[in-house]
Symmetry: C2
Subunit: 109 residues, 2 copies
DNA sequence: AATGTGCATCGTATAATTCCGATGCATGGA
DNA sequence: TCCATGCATCGGAATTATACGATGCACATT
């Protein structure tokens, strides 16, 4: 993941509605959720939520698959992983001692 | 790190100038960099950069320490770690299989 | 005490984001 | 074929972010 992609991903997640939707999608991997279900839970208008979804999609964090009349939205775990690796590089490059506590905490899951 | 703090941190990093400054500060841990050095490299006005720095500080990602007439800025690695753990929880909660590749890639550093 | 340096903050102009209703398009069912 | 559903997209209004110059304050030097 390059700098621009990371910026897109960070901006996409830096909004309550989008962060919430993304988390819900991750929790519903790998089945995904329909756009309607996400809209309903968000409390926003369908059109408003649709633009939020487009931001997540443009950042590569969410991918949609057409299933009949519905769209199934799915979180792209690889993209999340890419973002985390990008952030990790910031603190790990040449200085592993900064990241070891992170690895220790991650190991618990 | 709770949801609101994560949103602040994500928004703080979701800007080219701030992401760049934060990365430079991480690379200069633990000595830090003076505000002036950061301003000079950013190519922006001192006042503009100062507001960016305030955003990072409000998000807890950067802490400043007064040293004479200068301010030494330092990246808060714990805050970065907190953000990464927050993101990791999204993909690891109850589903470790999603995170194992992440751990494998992080292990290299 | 007087001056210069380093930074925060205020005021303001411009750009971007966010939100909604309205509209349009494609699909599935009557 | 005709209608209803699910979603994207357009247009516009309100809010927020971004950038700058000007100003003010604190500290160090002279």
């Amino acid at each position: 993941m390059d700098n621009d992609s990371a910026l897109l991903a960070l901006a996409a997640l830096a909004h309550p509605t989008r962060l919430d939707a993304f988390r819900r999608l991750v929790q519903h991997e790998p089945e995904g959720l329909s756009t309607g279900q996400l809209v309903e839970q968000s409390g926003l208008t369908q059109s408003t939520f649709s633009t939020h979804l487009a931001v997540l999609a443009k950042a590569g964090l969410v991918q949609s698959e057409k299933r009949g009349r519905h769209f199934i939205q799915r979180a792209d775990i690889d993209a999340l992983r890419g973002l985390m690796l990008f952030l990790a590089k910031d603190c790990c490059q040449g200085r592993a001692e900064l990241c070891e506590p992170l690895l220790a905490e991650l190991a618990c899951c």
